[in-house]
């Protein structure tokens, strides 16, 4: 009976989805200018000609977000730990970390990319790299370290204080208690929201196109300008979706697993 009602539910869901999709398709397709729009945005010929170049440029995005993620994981944790410092003498570190997070979370990413990417190289300091890719990486790492540090901090604070007290009672120092007891437990809870932030990061790699890095979005813009057709941009969108949708599903599954574990397990 249970499987029967499940099958019925699936059937209803499929039908209603099809009806809505058909309605949307009809509404758009029957609009007077649809043939023009279709030609400008969803042109099969331009899709197949733009795909190789746009896909190749996407490898720049991949390099960018993989490098950035590898740097963000430890930096974000360090910032989160800096914000949990209680020793009065080390207060400057905590205050600096707080300002850092407030600033990079509070200013639009595109502004930070502009200012850092164009401003710092313009200082013409010796030994400061000028390559746009380098500055693209730096800005993404700074912005997303701020976000990820908050994720870590929430994870650390979700561990009950009795855990730290038990560790301290055994004679562990505060740092040891964090290192061996609190942080390892926090890590598990932090994975889904962390991946969520990484999805945002992967999309935001397109922003660095303003620095002149020829990544996938920039490449699509170049093709668009050459052909007066928007289809290359749609190609890029499709490539982003191929990466981000599986990741979104993974996050959902991990989060659901986490929830079950917390409901089923003891503390």
């Amino acid at each position: 009976m249970a499987t029967g009602s499940a099958r019925k539910g699936l059937l209803v869901a499929t039908l209603s989805t099809l009806v809505v999709a058909a309605f949307v398709a009809y509404t758009i397709g029957s609009s007077p200018a649809w043939p023009e729009v279709q030609k400008a945005f969803f042109n099969g010929r331009y899709f197949s000609t733009s795909l190789p170049a746009v896909a190749e440029a996407f490898t720049i995005n991949v390099r960018l977000f993989i490098l950035a993620e590898l740097l963000i994981l430890p930096i974000g944790l360090l910032i989160a730990l800096a914000r949990s410092i209680t020793t009065p003498a080390l207060a400057p570190i905590r205050i600096f970390a707080t300002i850092f997070v407030d600033f990079f979370r509070g200013v639009p990413s595109i502004l930070i990319i502009y200012v850092l990417g164009f401003g710092v190289p313009a200082l013409q300091l010796d030994g400061v790299p000028k390559e746009p890719f380098f500055w693209a990486l730096v800005t993404l790492v700074l912005i997303y370290s701020a976000y990820v540090s908050e994720v870590y901090r929430a994870g650390i604070e979700s561990i009950h204080p009795s855990q730290e007290r038990a560790a301290r009672a055994l004679g562990l120092t505060r740092v040891q208690a964090l290192r061996y007891v609190v942080v390892p437990q926090a890590m598990r809870r932090v994975i889904p929201p962390l991946l969520n932030d990484f999805i945002g990061l992967q999309k935001d790699t397109a922003l660095v196109s303003i620095l002149g890095v020829v990544e996938t979005f920039k490449q699509a813009q170049i093709l668009k300008a050459a052909s007066f057709n928007f289809t290359p941009l749609m190609t890029t969108a499709l490539i982003f979706l191929i990466i981000t949708i599986p990741m979104t599903r993974l996050v959902d599954r991990l989060a659901a697993k986490d929830r079950n574990a917390q409901l089923g397990g003891t503390r």
């Binding site: 855990q163 301290r168 009672a169 055994l170 004679g171 562990l172 061996y180 437990q185 397990g265 003891t266």
Partner: protein, 271 residues
């Protein structure tokens, strides 16, 4: 009383502790000689748990002093972590580390706080677990164990730094009656082995059986102390009498065996 000569292992003098203005400990003085077992009794909120947490340097005190083996120690000390290694505490809620196996729970402090090698720390942990009858649980995670087993692991963990004194904070209160027995049995054999212990408990029969001295606390004050015979047989203070009367009225008949069960404890007369 016969052990005037030996200096106390743990001495608390005039402890005062406030929580947001309210006096929770109001000048408590108490000392434990080596091998001595002292039970703290009293209603919830009388200050037993706070006293243990302050004695373990887990919380600062507002007045008074704490000495361990004749040396003054305090929460604010730079080497308070080292002092905590010489004190073991077991909590009511076990507080085991859920991400570590039983063996890792017990071996963590020896490895990290005492800087033993991994091998030495695990050897010590295994010995402790075996002595507490938990050897076959070493590879399990805490959530696979019964409450009684978890609490015995917590005792093993507290013993792993070889503390001079073991503090126990109502460690059977979160257990069902069947599991209480196994944990109390563990404490009884620790007492027989000569462990110095300060035990906050609601188990009057157990306290009568295992304690050298009973202390009755009320409103953060030490009202009366004495041998179990005296405290359960002929308490002097009216407040102690009233507390014990109320405890007896709610506990099932036969669970309070105040005196006369101490013959077997002569084994411990090594001081």
């Amino acid at each position: 009383m016969a052990t005037v000569k030996s200096a106390p292992v743990l001495a608390l003098k005039g402890l005062k502790k406030r929580y947001s203005g309210k006096l929770v400990l109001d000048g408590i003085s108490l000392s434990l000689a080596e091998h001595e077992v002292v039970c703290l009794i009293g209603a919830s909120g009388s200050g037993k748990s706070t006293l243990l947490r302050c004695a373990d340097l887990l919380e600062p005190i507002d007045a008074g002093q704490i000495s361990l083996e004749g040396e003054r120690v305090a929460f604010e000390d730079r080497n308070a972590d080292a002092t905590r290694r010489k004190l073991g505490i077991v909590f009511q809620g076990f507080n085991l580390f859920p991400h570590l196996t039983v063996l890792e729970n017990v071996a963590l402090a020896p490895r990290v706080a005492l800087s033993l090698t991994q091998v030495a720390a695990e050897r010590r942990a295994k010995e402790l677990l075996r002595s507490l009858g938990l050897a076959e649980k070493a590879r399990e995670y805490p959530d696979r164990l019964s409450g009684g087993q978890q609490q015995r692991v917590a005792i093993a963990r507290a013993l792993a730094t070889e503390p001079k004194v073991l503090l126990l904070d109502e460690i059977t209160s979160a257990l069902d009656p069947v599991l209480v027995a196994e944990v109390l049995e563990t404490l009884r054999s620790l007492a027989l082995s000569g462990m110095t212990m300060l035990i906050a408990t609601h188990e009057m029969a157990f306290a009568a059986d295992v304690a050298d001295r009973i202390c009755y606390l009320e409103d953060g004050r030490l009202i009366e102390e004495g041998t179990p015979q005296k405290m359960f047989g002929a308490p002097r203070d009216p407040r102690t009498k009233e507390f014990l009367r109320r405890v007896r009225s709610i506990s099932a008949p036969g669970t309070t065996r105040p005196v006369g069960t101490r013959a077997k404890r002569t084994v411990r007369a090594k001081r």
